[in-house]
Symmetry: C2
Subunit: 347 residues, 2 copies
Amino acid sequence: MPELGARAEFLLKALVERYIAEGQPVGSRTLAKEAGLELSPATIRNVLADLEEMGLVRSPHTSAGRVPTERGYRIFVDTLLTVRPLQSAQIRRYEHELSHEDNPKQLLENASHLLSEVTQLAGLITLRRRNQSVALRQLDFVGLSAERVLVILVTQDGEVQNRVIHTERQYSPAELVQAANYFNETFSGLPLADVKRALLTEMQKTSEEMQRMMQLALDMARRVLLDEKQDIDDLMVSGESKLMDFPELGDIQKLRRLFDAFTKKRDLLHLLERSLRAGGVKLFIGSESGYEALEGCSVVTAPYMQDGRVVGTLGVVGPTRMPYEQVIPFVDVTARLLSGALSSLGR
Amino acid sequence: MPELGARAEFLLKALVERYIAEGQPVGSRTLAKEAGLELSPATIRNVLADLEEMGLVRSPHTSAGRVPTERGYRIFVDTLLTVRPLQSAQIRRYEHELSHEDNPKQLLENASHLLSEVTQLAGLITLRRRNQSVALRQLDFVGLSAERVLVILVTQDGEVQNRVIHTERQYSPAELVQAANYFNETFSGLPLADVKRALLTEMQKTSEEMQRMMQLALDMARRVLLDEKQDIDDLMVSGESKLMDFPELGDIQKLRRLFDAFTKKRDLLHLLERSLRAGGVKLFIGSESGYEALEGCSVVTAPYMQDGRVVGTLGVVGPTRMPYEQVIPFVDVTARLLSGALSSLGR
DNA sequence: CTTAGCAATCGCATGTGTAGAGTGCTAATT
DNA sequence: AATTAGCACTCTACACATGCGATTGCTAAG
């Protein structure tokens, strides 16, 4: 990659900013006036030709100005972008939106809405994977009918999960209560990870008569806690329809593919998963994501945490031409605020 | 409304059917061949002119054929439509899709998906209002932190609802268990309606020392069961993006308004509510719904039941030009199948 | 290295012409 | 009285031409 000079950088920055603001190809004349450099359009044309050669800008056609390419955007956000830190008054307002919520699921939904409303793009958030460090509060067994038992799992943060399992024989309410008591006495207050481990190791132990209820409890608990399916992440999307306002996504075909990706969720989940590991904001510009449906779109993501552990990812999707200098810090802040709100749930 | 003759009716029917099938305005020549009547195009033109005068068809422009108006569609579905009853093999397939599901919420989602997949339109379903005749199974109180208690409500059909409430003082786990026991001993097995009534009437009774726990339980139960907000219906939409394939909805503006209606939900909920009372399939053609967002769209709905009581509505949304003769019976069948599946949940 | 000048290119809007589809009307036919 | 053939008319869709404006690349001068 040939180093580009300070002037070329400056002009690239000016061009991208202008294009993001106006949505029109930017010509040499405009740039000459806009940039503030004392240069004639002709000189600027030379520089632009260089940038085009490097694949950072391109002309839609001969007599149009230039628009950034994906690589151009990439250089822009990596090395030229000046992010505006958010006003602390704003931050407090957003925090307020998130703090008044007891229900963890609802909290995530609020965060997604907030992302969409503030950026006017589509908000994304993965339901967090069951945090293995969260403590188990209690397990309940409720007999629904012969051989069908409803298992209710409550964690320290107030999240309730439930699932119906089928048993080989009918259990009386008393048996179920007793089984739950045994189980809770042993495991309540322990992190889910520890409970799981215990469930796996206790698998083989002999069943003494005295422990019959405990065996039952362990068995039912296993079928809920160790079920892989429960761990599959899910995705929530908010404000998709806002994307229809962008003229660059005006093509119905493209829009259809994008919206399909929102319902299918699989590809987006993979994408969001990729940004789980590294902390901080991650950007996928256009085809960098590798998914055709996201052609012409950028995704800005950030992982969020609960009690110091990364448990999910949030972000926004919008056209490649989006105001990165505002979106990036906002996604960052939202992830932090949500992490704070989630972590205070268990207290 | 002047009675239209048998021939006019026949031609209207042919015209609508042809238009639904092809999506193009239908001319007199086409209709002469299609209809099988031994009539010349000129004669048909005369009839079409009459239909136009009555407001049942219209010309997009001078040299195009005719297209049904909303009133035309209305006459068509009310008096001319010949619905094809579904094959029983098909019905069994659909039933199969719905029967293997223990979780009530998931069941509704499956129904919505089924609607969308089979009709290739957008599927709608209201989450059912809490069925007041379903029996309460049990109530659990789980202390989350000082002064925050998680209340878990389990009904006979295996549905779990939960809510965090704030108390004035901290309760020990033992107190909470005791309170729940009192409550469940008294109310478990009773229909929710009865429980609610009891909660309201017992409000005023004096609190004897012996009953302190019961008072606590009643108080908490009230705050969950009598909360109006819980009763607000919610709406699920599936396969919205399929609507983007219809050329008549190709206008992005229109599409945007429609998708906004899907997220706002309010208007659609009102519409679906209207069809709660009467049994059987209801149709809203174009502006009949009264909502601008549904311009050019029809909604086909049917109420569904649980244990003999209407608890919600399902249906589809699509362009006015939809294959009613298939959609109507399918919506009807889906409502019946779902009703059956829901009713067998409690057993 | 920068700039002015200039021909060249292209999109876009506008206008024109033509073919095709379908209509309404009138007069002839049954 | 109902039906039909004939015909002028209207409108769209499409193809093609034209002019305008914007912007470029190139060249030669500063």
